[in-house]
Every structure is written in C-alpha cells, then in structure tokens.
Amino acid sequence: MARVAQGDARAFRALSDAHLKPVYVYLTRLLHSEAEAQDVAQETFLRVWQNASSYQPKARITTWIHAIARHLAIDRLRRRKTTGEHFEFDDERDLVPRSDRPSELLEKKTTAQLVAQAIARLPERQQSALLLCHEQGLSQPEIAVVLECTVDAVESLLKRARSTLREQLQSLNTTTETP
C-alpha cells in the first residue's frame, strides 16, 4: 500500500488484482446491477489510487476498500431515489448459476432468484452486513469498520437480517409454489 501511495503502478495492479473481484461481487449484490457495479467498482479503485496516502494501516486493506465501495454505492442508491430513476433487476442471465444438469440448473436458478430478491428487500445496512459476513468472510469488527458502527450494532444488524431473510425466503417460496 505504501508503494501505491508513492505512485507505483505495478503495486496498484497487484492490489487491484487481489481486491477487484470481491469488491465487484459485493457491489453487484448491493446494487443489483452489473453495469452500475462496474461503474462504482472503477470509481472505487480510482479513489484507492488517489487516496492511497490516507490509508491507515490499523484497518485491513480489504476493509478500507470495501468501505470506499460502500460509500460510493450508497451515493448511487441515493441518486436512484432522488432522480426517481427506474430500476429493474438485471436480467436472468446474470442470475444463472452454473450446472450441467437442466433440472438442477432450474432449481438453482429459482433459489438464486429468490435469495437475490429477498436480499434486495432488506435495508442497505442489513444487506451489507449480511453480504460482508456470509459472502466476503469479513469478521464482525471488520464489518463494523466498513459500516462505521460498533460491533454490537453489527451483531444486531446481522440478527435482524438473518431473521428477515428467512421470513422473506419462506414467503417467496410459498408464493412461487402456489399455482
């Protein structure tokens, strides 16, 4: 990181190679749009390049980058709200899981869609806490840094998110099963 702060392009390349994918995945899940996730991910790494000297080694690099990404994603979500921008989930192509067997593929696809919809219905902080914990593998103190709150608050967010997600999935599952 110190080398990135000194303007070392090769160090930046190594940094982006290591962190681009998790950041992009997190943003895609949070924004539910690959195109917007690409924009925000690019902006995130531009900020990393420009502000590398302000990085404090007390937090892990991944935590710092995720915090930048989240701030930018929130801006994007706010802009959607204020401009009343019409937003739709990405088409199904983006939610197709990988499988060789058609029946399994269909089942996985349905589950993936249900999970994605259920996550999208959660408030942003709960979505972030859930994704950072269960998909990105960040610890609760690290999530607290990204969300700028206490570890207790993260615990509470996770508890509510898990319980709501269960309820949502059960109700969505019931709806899809109903003829």
Binding site: K21, P97, R98
Partner: protein, 131 residues
C-alpha cells in the same frame, strides 16, 4: 471469525447465488487508472518530501511577510502609526501634545513617535513624567 458468527442456513442461501466473474472491460479500465490519473505529489524540496517541506516553507514565508509588515508599520508619519500613537497615548492616559511640548521644541511628533516605537518608548514616557 468465530463459529457463532456464522449461520449455516444463511451461508447456504447466499452460497446459492451465482458466481460472478469480473468483466474483462472492468479489469482493463482499472488497470489503466495509474496511467490515466497520475497521482499528484508535492515536489521534493531540500530533500524533504511532500507536504511537510511545503508547510515549513509556507510558515517561513508567513513569518517573513509579517516582519516586513512590521517594518512598514514602524515608518514614522504613516497614518497607521499615527493612529497607533494616539491609541497608545489614550491607553496610558498621556497626552501626545504634552509629550511633544516636554521634549525638545524642535522635535516633531513623528520624530518622537519614531523614538517611542523603539525600546526607548517607556524611558521617554518616564522622562516626560519627571519633567
């Protein structure tokens, strides 16, 4: 992360989400960031890098600027100085005109003022009071 932090049911639900690959275009764009946005850094001065050196130079510049102002200020006859003498005399309850009378008749107010601005200001006052 402790096992208590995890919830296998939720892990399995989130694990069902499809894997995502980073688009080649995004990878390319991110890789080009250093070339397109050269990070601006403070030029090195006296072997000292960056903002500290500039901060020191700025502070020195400020001090020099202030001392120059002080010299200008001390110039006798300048309206600013005359005002200052007036203010000072009011504060000390000494009449500038009396001071001028007590001193040599030839001494002009500006000469006295020049004298007063130096460390002899208090001495001059004492002399006047004695007289």
């Amino acid at each position: 992360m402790s096992p208590l932090d995890r919830d296998p049911w939720i892990d399995s639900a989130i694990g069902s989400l499809p894997e995502l690959d980073v688009p080649a275009e995004l990878r390319r764009n991110v890789a080009q960031i250093p070339a397109q946005h050269q990070a601006w850094t403070f030029p090195t001065i006296f072997g000292l890098k960056s903002s500290w050196a500039w901060a020191i130079c700025g502070a020195l510049g400020l001090v020099c600027g202030l001392s120059l102002d002080g010299e200008d200020f001390a110039e006798a006859g300048s309206p600013t100085f005359a005002q200052e003498v007036e203010f000072g005399s009011d504060a000390l309850d000494v009449n500038v005109a009396d001071l001028a009378d007590s001193a040599s008749e030839q001494a002009s107010l500006s000469t006295l003022a020049q004298l007063a601005w130096t460390s002899e200001w208090t001495d001059a006052l004492d002399l006047t009071q004695d007289e």
